[in-house]
Symmetry: C2
Subunit: 409 residues, 2 copies
Amino acid sequence: MKLLKVDSVEETKRKMDHYFEGISLDVEWIDIAQALGRIAAENLYAQREVPEFPRSTVDGYAVMAKDTYGASESLPTFLQLEGNVEMGEAAAQKIVPGKGVYVPTGGMLPNGADAMVMIEYVESLDGDTIAVYKAVAPGEGIMQQGEDIQKGEPVVAKGKKLKPQDIGMLAAAGIFSIKVFKKPRVFVISTGDELVHPKEETKLGQVRDINTYTLSAMALACNAEVVGQVIVRDDFQLLQNTVKHAIEKSDVVVVSGGSSVGKKDVTAKVIDSLGEPGVFIHGVAVKPGKPTIIGRVGDTAVFGLPGHPVSAMIIYKVFVEYILRRLQQLEEAQEVVIYGICDANIHSSPGKETYQMVQLEERDHQWIVKPIYGKSGAISLMTKAHGYIKIRENQEGIHKGEGVEVILL
Amino acid sequence: MKLLKVDSVEETKRKMDHYFEGISLDVEWIDIAQALGRIAAENLYAQREVPEFPRSTVDGYAVMAKDTYGASESLPTFLQLEGNVEMGEAAAQKIVPGKGVYVPTGGMLPNGADAMVMIEYVESLDGDTIAVYKAVAPGEGIMQQGEDIQKGEPVVAKGKKLKPQDIGMLAAAGIFSIKVFKKPRVFVISTGDELVHPKEETKLGQVRDINTYTLSAMALACNAEVVGQVIVRDDFQLLQNTVKHAIEKSDVVVVSGGSSVGKKDVTAKVIDSLGEPGVFIHGVAVKPGKPTIIGRVGDTAVFGLPGHPVSAMIIYKVFVEYILRRLQQLEEAQEVVIYGICDANIHSSPGKETYQMVQLEERDHQWIVKPIYGKSGAISLMTKAHGYIKIRENQEGIHKGEGVEVILL
């Protein structure tokens, strides 16, 4: 009974950290309008303050707050109106006790004013006088110069994946061209004597390859660029030529299939034949996905994933995405996971980290997490699942009612 | 004290449903390799069964299960070996009692076999005989023909946003070209006399526009296409020309700024001037974002959003994304939200649906939801927030310890 000597998931990640120490993607300069989903390659600091002058945050009247103290619906305060501030123009007026000036939302606050009274609480009696029906405190209805963003303040940290609000923040802070990591280039190879392209007709015993479709789509979903897709037979020479070519063109090569220990286990030998340091992981204590191979040739990561579509996808999520994040120095904490309550007892596979497919159901503002089962390799299971949960290698299993973390698919 | 007569959020959505009844995007045919994130415009059914022949899911020996009954580590069963099944080839052998055939993972199961014994539990004694150390049940280690997907089975429903596993499912099911909704075309307009392009220098009182950046990025994040971005002064004629041009080119026009009730409130008049039915929402009971305008001109949705970046982004998420989903007939349930426990009492604004920015913190496999506060219009608040929670218009507020739903930003 031959069993693989395998690494744990934590040990595998530690080895990846070790073997990819100091390796990261090249950077490029891009306009922030093209930066959605890209990863900042430097810390960015505000080039200006926001706002650049004190602004009103309401439609209303700029006043000295103390003039309004005691004002109420039954007992208004009367102020002398000193005209309007126009949008986009400097406020020329100066507020002194007993005076008010109309300022629209976003308009500049005149000198001397320290609060805004919303128009809803003001009545214009004639062109010259207003009745104020509400007391306001100093600072009310105002955004001070630099209150939103100070000049020199950090606005985006290196390793942040940029969202719409970050792009807005950069525009506001006067930063329009930024250094980001180039998109990782991924090359997807499926190997197996049984595989044919999905669009081809099959003979009995042949199988249509779907991993090039799923793994390429997963790469695109991670903002990577897919630079090649090839189906190749389990032949050392053919696979060696293909992987050699792939390594030259890409940062990450993903070979699925051909990685179980058997007479056709050529992926590891091919990786080792192409350069240093070669394979450093051969087998991981996970279920599904045990026969996982990870190596490095030059600066390129080369993965051997199981051929089963489900196993391949899970190992991709766990290890290939780990390297994609690492190459981009992406902070892991940015990925928001789902927490929920497990709805059933789940068995573990002792000594292995187990990935269990689950569905989510909302109950009382809580996610109820339901395990779903199916044959290994069933793609239909993946499309029914909302995500998966991990059961750690030394965990006894999960009890019904326990809190769990769900990684979305 | 003039107050807007406004609709509730639910009423606003009902009116959108009513005014956009029967309007949806055109469809187009694309290859599934390009379909990630696109929305299926038809129900899709499997064109073939998966697998197309019974397959082994393990490396091992195909047997008749009943031959193994009683086998154990101390008392193996001996079977006669009838050679190998090669990957990608039809199994020529026929299993009869007392015989076994080697089949690799994914290989075709020979006729007569009804189970697989994993190689770990088998010893090859000589070229002709194997010792089986474990009993297997019928069906073990096998995936039956059509077990994963039946021919004619629904595989992707109309309105589904396609993920990598869906694309794999389609490839497996023999579907390579599919009908999807065209990407919605969004035109982003910022209006305001105070606005200048962010790259320009400002004079005192002028403000750099950032909404074209944030709202365009939000459109891209929703898989829409941004077909135009314009900054325009609050002038009826100019805005009318700009919106008219935008309507001709797009499915959704988003005008931010210029929508508060005041002398510069031209957006609603412009929409009404351009065609039927025009504005059907003028003010929504939400905070922030009350002065929201929604109209329809021909088949194009036209929105007037507040000028404040934060309010504009929230109203975009709540109402513009609602229409984008509606035009693509996207099932709303696909959006996975986060549930968590609120960490503080939060006040409501009576009569308004209130959006409160929050941060998330993990504690014991649960999200703790912390409200964060800042001045209205502070873009820095949006970049600090992980998401927001809704407090319904007739809700008293949220108590510390209450379960809440978080919409991620």
